[in-house]
Each structure stands twice: as structure tokens, then as C-alpha cells.
Amino acid sequence: METFSPSLSLQEKLTILADAAKYDVACTSSGADRRGEKGKLGNGVAAGICHSFASDGRCVSLLKILQSNECIYDCKYCLNRSSNDRVRTTFTPEEVCRLVIEFYRRNYIEGLFLSSGVVKSPSYTMELMCRTLSMLRNQYHFNGYIHVKAIPGAPEELLETLGYLADRVSINLELPTPEGLKDLAPHKTQKTILKPMEQIRSGIADHRLSIGKDPMMERFGGNRNLKHTIFDDVRSGRIEEHRQLASNSFLPPAKDKPAPFVPAGQSTQMIVGATAENDLQLLSVTQQLYQKFDLKRVFFSAYVPLNEDSRLPSLDTAPPLLREHRLYQADWLLRFYGFHAEELLSTDRPNFNIMLDPKCDWALRHLELFPVEINRAGYAELLRVPGIGTKSAYRIVKSRRQRSLTFENLKKIGVVLKRAKYFITCNGKMMFHIPIEENFITRQLIGEDYKKSWEIDHPQTYEQLSLFDDQNFSSSPSAEDTCKSLSGQI
């Protein structure tokens, strides 16, 4: 039974439609750099700005709401599926616009994240969303960030209109395999999801070519120092492959620049832990999405059980937060560190090590490449050392030109020596006398990281006090300890 009461107050509507939208992960406002204009409200900041952090520690950057929580579909995992008995309501375009403008002026938000349940039909819903965005941009002169979810199955024209109004468009892939999708989201098929994704990709490429840029989106600047990233594999040969150029792309240059089409790129989201897919499948699909559809981001959402269904995990399953965390770590390795999915996981080991982060795990399996000499190794080599990130690698490369670096300097520069010390030398010396031996280093690293991993998976719980050091919290051995252990004193 659906209850529909048109007399809900704005506050009640907001509660219902924000509550229904909160399981969408993406709340980033990054990717669009746009100066403010007189007479308009807002600008775009490339790095994105978080304006608050919710009680679950996730950033609140955008006003994340649904246009409507009415839905004709019955996806098993979804709170708003048609078989659930919930209060249904719909925002009018004016209500959304007023909320966005007033929240934005008070510096609560960076923009709007608009998603929706499917009211009546995909086209009807998309048209309603288009009306909202068009009103926000043209009548309310909003110049801030807009992230909109496209509804699979809507006509191409509507999607194109949406693309010119929004900064980022995303379509949720939901599940990495067609089988999983068939099982849990019977009204969606991978084809209907990938088709609009391809349309947006080619729209973005059209626009980028028409303003004289490379058809692929810009990636992290440091990537140009890396030889073989996942983005390089596809870059060559993309232009020839690009068949359908929009006819207006080759008109003589107009006075104004052509209107940007989805300037912040598109993103997608996959559910982790609802079906039996392993990490390798998830990560390979992620990599393919980056390569084939030029996505800006792929988000993972740990499955939070909301509905009871025989095909879903039971209601008391804890969300697999640590697994989600590992997938995000790996996603960063793909986009910023030049790793490939095949390097991190293989068919014999299809899941991430729960104890170690993916980079440490990789390094331990490739000890032949270590230790790396800090004062001589290239940027790409430095990036592969656990404990060194893009910023510290850049600082190392820049500062060692003048004088060689010591461990003391590295610490100040921002290298996490706790992890890096097993893998690096400074001027030919390691920090301590450490054997480069897989078992020893694994033990050390797990001891140091165990507490953190445990906390990610159990954010609210407490552990039983114990007299014994069952989590291996003990501090790392000093140089003397290592000497003693080698000479057999302990």
C-alpha cells in the first residue's frame, strides 16, 4: 500500500527524501573549475569542498536528495522499491531550488546532488529532474556544482539536456556482473545502464574536441611522470575510433565558448557485499570503466541491509566496511599510482588481504624490487613504496636536487616511516638493521596496522580487555633487538 499525502511540510519532505538518498555514496563536488560571475550565485572549485561531516564520518558536500521516492521498480536491495510500504512524496522544482539557493548562501553546501526514484516512467522522471535543474540554472542563476543521477531507459534528448545543465552525471552500475543485476534488479539490465554511459562519454569527447582538447578527461597531473598507467592503454587510437562527432562540433568558432557538457565527468557506483562477486571482479570492472567509458570516479558502497529477501544477505549482516576501504585504496592505486588491477589481484588470490593494505601487500610479493634508494629512485619507483604518497614522492624528487635526504628529513616531508622503513635506503643505509624477508616484514606490518583495520570494520564496538597482547600491539623492534635476534640472544 502506498500512502500519498500531498500535505507534507517542506521539513517532512526533506527528511523523507534525504533519508532515501543517503545510501548513494558520491558526495564529491570536485572536477569543475568555474569562476563566479556577477549576478549569479556560486562557483566551482576543482578540488571540491566538504562542508560538513555526518555522524558516519562521510563528507557532506552537496544537498543530497531525491526528487521523488516514488518508484515503479522493485530492486531488491533498495529502500524505495515499490513493494516497500513507505510514505511517498515528491519535491516540486521550486522547493528544490529554494533549498539549494538558501543552503548555498549560508555556506552549508557546495551544490546539489539530485537523484530520484522512477515516477511513472523513466522519461517522466528525467523530465521532472530537467525542469528542476533548468529552473535552478536559469531562473535562480545558480552557478555552483550540480551532480545528477541519470535514469537508465530515458530518451537520449533528455540525457543530453541534463548534460548541459549539470557538472557531473552518473549512472549507477549497482552490480559488476549482468547475472547479479538480473537477480537483484530485475527491471534493469547492464545494456540499459551502459548505453547512456556511452552517450555521455561521447558527448564529453565531442565537447572536448570542439574546444581543442584531448578527447579523454584530464587525470591527476603527476600521472604524466608515470610510464604505464591504466589511462595510457586506451589513449592512443581513441580519436580514430571516435566516429559520431556531433555535427555542430565543426562549425566555425563562435564568439562564446560552446556550453560545457558534463565538465566534471561521469561517475558510477557499485554495491559491495550484496552478491558473491570477488574483489578481482569488482576491481577489473572498475578498471574497464575507467578505460572504456572514461569515468572520473567509481564509487563502492558497502551493502547495508535494508530489506528482507531470500536473495540478499540477512538483515543482521554488518556492512563490509573494511572491504570497501580496501577497494577504495586499490582504486586510488589505479588512478594515482600507476598500478593495474592485474598487479594487485590475480585469479589465485581474488580477494584483498584484510590485514594489509593493497600496496603493502603488493610490495611484500615483490621484495626483489626493494629496498629503493630514496636519493636516486625515480618518481614512479618512489610511488610504489608503501608509506610514500604522491605528495611526499613529489617533495622528495624536488628537494633532493640540492642535497641528499636523510630519514629525519623524510619524516618531516611526510613519508610514513612506520611502513616505508622496511623498503627504503637513504644513502645506501636502511633505517634499522632489518632483514628483507617476507615473513618478518609481514608480521611487523600486520602488527602495526591491525588495530586500524579492526577499527574500520567495527566503528562502534569495544573489545574485551585482555592480559595478553593478542593484537600484537607491541612496538617495533629496536636496532638492538634485531641484532640480538640475529646473534641468538633472544
Binding site: 526533506l14 562557483n43 555522524s55 533549498l99 549560508r106 552549508y108 640540492q402
Partner: protein, 249 residues
Amino acid sequence: MIIFTCKDTFEDMMSCIYTAWASRLGHKNIRLKTEPIGNLELFCDYRHVDHDPNQTASVIRSIQKKISFRAYQMVYRAAMSFQEEKLDIIYRFLIYGFHYGPSVVNMLQEPAVMNLFELDRKVLNEAHLFREFLRFSEIDHVLISHIEPKCDVLTILAPQFTDRMPSENWMIIDDNRWTAVVHPCDQDYYMTTLSEDELNRLKTSEISDIYTDLWKVFFETIGVEARKNPRCQRTMMPLWYRKHMTEFL
């Protein structure tokens, strides 16, 4: 040991650096400090330096020309820090800077450079947090915000918010320093100091209206109960910054 002291403004600090440098006493034998001076040290000679526009301009010009504009930005931001030692850190950095030129900003293994780098980073980080977390409340079509930053971040925030809201009347008030940025609709912003009277009148400006209530409702709704993680929330948004935030009032 001679200690040069000056008021805690950027212009005064630049004049102080000029005077200290021109004193030719040897870098080892002098120190620079901003006022107020707390405990006086033994065997030290304190010399107060007043602001001189020519000296200030000359120091700024030399930093930009002989080192780089980036170094100037770093020095400026470091001067906004709340740390007592900042002026001396800037001075030690400039000694290296005038010797090595533009490449000095990358020489992070030099303690003198690293100290400045850390000051700069602290100020930038704090300014960024206030860019995220400051909240306006609306009174008579004017948006007013109160902040209590440790570092003097107003000059960094002002251009950012001007770009964000060019056609709004807004002001950001630093409650600790009694200064404010005022931005009238469609005009340039300006900085001003507030009298005690004005400050008291503006104190009560954190009022609630329908949108503050809506925001609180939204903020409470948007967290996922199954993922609740107050520690992560505190890491990302320290309690210290929550003083004037609408959702915690």
C-alpha cells in the same frame, strides 16, 4: 643578543625585517619577535621597530624579484600564523632565500625552509577548514558569519568568498581579532576593524530561521546509522571548529 620587535601586522613585520637586516649586526646575533613580548630574556637588548611604508615595499619587492612570487605567498601566509616564533622563522628563511633564489622553496631538508613550510601549511589548512565550516546567518538580507580562528585567515578567505558569492551582501567577523571582511553586493570587499560597541551589536547575529532548522534536519538525516563512526567525524571536523556551526548550535 639584539631582539627586534614589532607589531603583529604584515607591514610592520616587513619593516622589522628591513631594519634587522640593515643593522649589520650579523644574523647570528639578532632575533626577531612580534609583540606583545611575554617574558623578557636576560642579556638581550630589545629594539622596537615602527612601520615604514618604503621599507615594507622594498622587502616585498626583493622577495618577489630575488626569490619568487611563490616564496612571497609562503612568507605572507606564514606571517598570518599565531606562532610566536614566526617572524624569526621568516627571517631565517629569507637568509637562505636570498642566497639560493627561487629553488629555495623546494629545499625541505633545510630546517629554516622546513619551518616556514610548516607554518605556511598550518595557515593554509586552517583557512581551508574555515572555508568549509564557516556558516552565515541572514539578517536583513546581509549574511553574517563569526569565526574564531587561531591564525589570521580573513585575508585568505575574503577573495574565495568574493568569487563564490559576488552578488550578495556578506561579512565575516573574526571575533578574536575584532576585524571583519565586508562585501557589499556587486562591489569589492574591504577589511575593517570593529569597535567593542559594533562587535557587541553583531554578537547576537547567530539567529535561527526556517533554513537553519531545515539544515539541522538534513544533517541529522543524512548519516547512515549502520556506519556510525563519531571518531572519523571528529578527525575530519575537529570539535574546535564546531563552535559557530549551525548544525551544532
